[in-house]
């Protein structure tokens, strides 16, 4: 589904990614772990198409198609979803209207009519129940005054509504208490299928107890330096990252 080859990227002249390779297939869950500043969020933003970065080399393919020239919304229309580490507050636009606009713009890009209001409401009801979201919450301004947990739950709610092929969860666990973590993870697990894939970016093993990865990658200094199964996450939790740095020397 996603194939990244030899990706190099800079921001303001500073190299962040230095030859990163990653392959994610449908039906898989990948975790990317690594110390602060390793380039985890940069990777997520580059896949989503944020233009603050200079991609100097490498290929990003989604389902065999090079997406590196596509606008962020075109990538979204092709099934890329990024759950933001810091979801943006948009005063004056309600959660419901936002998601409605997002879905209908995506449908429009695919040459489809707007989703009928009845179907939209039904879907909103189902997905908000899945994420245990209070209906009142849906009429509030998007992310404005939301707690950290509410913001993250709202991200996963949007993911549920948009039904992406590739979901990237950028530190979705940060700022979540244990109950919210369980709800979010449960939501992600229910949305998992053999046709979609998930990349979980996290510092901690905690989230991976709930969303069990097929692969764990260690991102360090702009490259994936180690790949293993779920047990690698436990090892990292127990030993930290220093032993990996030493292995590399």
């Amino acid at each position: 589904m996603l194939k990244i080859n030899n990706l190099h990227a800079k921001i303001e002249g500073k190299s962040i990614l230095k030859g990163l390779n990653l392959e994610v297939n449908a039906g898989e869950v990948h975790a990317i772990m690594g110390p602060n500043g390793a380039g985890k969020s940069t990777l997520a933003n580059i896949i989503a198409g944020k233009d603050d970065y200079d991609v100097t080399d490498g290929i990003i393919e989604l389902n065999g198609e090079d997406i590196s020239e596509l606008a962020p919304e075109e990538r979204a229309h092709n099934g890329v979803f990024l759950s933001f580490q810091y979801p943006v507050e948009i005063p004056g636009v309600s959660v419901t209207n936002f998601i409605k606009t997002a879905i209908n713009q995506t449908r429009k890009a695919k040459g489809l009519e707007d989703m009928p209001a009845k179907d939209m409401l039904k879907m909103i009801r189902e997905k908000s129940e899945l994420l245990e979201i209070d209906r009142k919450f849906l009429s509030r301004s998007l992310n404005e005054g939301f707690s950290g947990g509410e913001k993250k739950r709202n991200e996963i709610f949007q993911m549920a509504m948009l039904e992406p092929k590739l979901s990237i969860l950028d530190e979705t666990d940060s700022g979540l208490d244990i109950d919210a973590l369980r709800i979010v993870a449960n939501g992600v697990n229910k949305l998992k299928s053999k046709d979609n894939a998930v990349i979980v970016i996290t510092h901690y093993q905690r989230l991976l107890e709930y969303i069990v990865p097929d692969f764990v990658h260690v991102l360090y200094d702009g490259k994936i330096v180690k790949t293993g199964d779920a047990s690698l996450a436990l090892e990292l939790e127990a030993k930290g990252y220093d032993w990996i740095k030493q292995e590399l020397v």
Partner: protein
């Protein structure tokens, strides 16, 4: 000949068409003398520092059109709020169009100023109210000197007008350049309630200058909701001078939607002559090209325990320019005043300009007066977030701008006006999305 000279020398011709033995005519003559002294405003005046009429005044305006021009309803339907029943007072090139109008004298007067000025049964209202709140500065004096036609609305005590009133001034462009000076008088007595929608609309690309004066008197406990839709052709300029006199417990709101035209200058003045008054001044400005919109507001808190709420949002693209000058005066006697002023602007292009100036003159010591003014750009992080969810840049920007302006739209009380404004905004922003936030 300079426009000023042309105007002064045309006065004799104007006098031929009106009753020059009335008291009103003395007011006109005095106003003409004032205008002769003051002339047109120039940028040397503090109040006109950022708005220049020079280029507009170079046009060779026709001042009185003798022709009766007519227009077909089908051609102008789009300028009406036509999906609801309304009273209509319609003028074409400054002349009343009975064909397009729908007026009444049934328990209230919704008709023409010219007939109110000429008939004795209206004389007491005219005597008590005409030119009583309008301040005699340059352009208001000019309008007063030639005041003869416009809307006359008189709502007696405790009458709730059952449907909104539309005042529409069309200019047909039959002349290369047309100047019109509508004069509206609106008297809303104790406990009465009225909703008014006003629009000035040019029908061609020929130059137009409308110098409008509207006087509004709100009696005790009266409610007036006034909506101004300014979305004119690019050669049409408008100077709107509106004066509101409020008595105790009255609530008057004026919403001004400025979406287009050449130069648009709004002088909106509120005088609170009583206690427990609420004055609401709101506006949305969305312009592009070289358009210019200037909001000069004044709220004069004269007596205690009153409130005023101002909320102006501006979105400026290309080389467009905006001015917001919001003046609040709180007299020494006006204790417990609560005056709130908000002016937020977004500059979409590097070449757009806004000059914003809150002016507070507070002489009382127990008041709450707040003002906030911001000038910013659209939030790029928010745009990326929206794009990531599949919303393209243009639609994302439109959604952000609509949300930004929405605090003003929320208080529009006529749903059809609100949906019309929403559609105008979508058209202006070039998108086809619902915006039902």
């Amino acid at each position: 000949m300079e426009l000023k000279e042309k105007i002064l020398s045309s006065y004799v011709a104007f006098e031929n068409g009106i009753d020059i033995n009335s008291d009103i005519h003395e007011i006109r003559t005095e106003a003409l003398e004032n205008f002769e002294k003051l002339g047109f405003p120039t940028k040397k005046l503090e109040e006109w520092k950022y708005t220049s009429l020079n280029a507009v005044l170079k046009n060779d305006f026709s001042i009185f059109l003798n022709k009766e021009n007519s227009v077909q309803f089908a051609d102008v339907k789009e300028y009406f709020i036509h999906d609801i029943d309304t009273y209509k007072i319609v003028f074409i090139d400054g002349k009343y169009s009975s064909f397009l109008s729908d007026v009444t004298h049934d328990g209230k007067d919704i008709c023409l100023l010219s007939s109110a000025l000429s008939k004795s049964k209206y004389s007491s209202v005219i005597e008590n109210y005409f030119n009583k709140v309008a301040k005699q500065d340059n352009l208001t004096a000019l309008n007063t000197a030639f005041a003869n036609e416009g809307a006359y609305i008189y709502i007696p005590k405790s009458v709730e007008v059952e449907k909104p009133i539309q005042i529409i001034n069309f200019t047909t462009g039959s002349e290369a350049a047309t100047m019109v000076q509508p004069r509206n008088l609106i008297v809303v007595e104790e406990n009465a309630h009225v909703q008014i929608i006003e629009r000035h609309q040019s029908l061609t690309s020929n130059a137009v200058l409308s110098n409008v004066v509207t006087e509004i008197f709100a009696g005790r406990n009266a409610t007036v909701d006034y909506y101004k839709i300014q979305n004119d052709e690019e050669n049409a300029s408008l100077v709107d001078n509106t004066f509101v006199d409020q008595k105790s417990n009255s609530v008057v709101s004026v919403h001004t939607f400025s979406f287009g035209g050449n130069i648009t200058r709004n002088n909106l003045n509120f005088y609170q002559n009583g206690e427990h008054i609420d004055s609401i001044l709101k506006g949305i400005t969305i312009i592009e090209g070289k358009q210019h919109v200037d909001h000069h507001t004044l709220v004069h808190h004269i007596e205690p325990n009153c409130e005023s709420h101002q909320d102006y949002k501006g979105i400026f693209n290309d080389r467009s320019t905006g001015v917001f000058n919001g003046k609040v005066i709180v007299n020494k006697e006006a204790q417990k005043t609560n005056a709130y002023q908000q002016n937020n602007n977004v500059l979409i292009s590097d070449k757009a300009t806004i000059n914003a100036k809150p002016q507070l003159e507070i002489f009382a010591d127990d008041v709450k007066c707040s003002h906030g003014c911001t000038i910013g750009q659209l939030d790029n992080d928010a745009l990326f977030y929206m794009q990531q969810r599949g919303i393209p840049v243009k639609e994302g920007k439109a959604l952000l701008m609509y949300a930004f302006a929405n605090t003003v739209l929320e208080s529009v009380k006529i749903p059809e006006v609100k949906s019309r404004i929403t559609k105008l905004i979508a058209t202006k922003l070039g998108v086809n999305i619902g915006f039902d936030l």
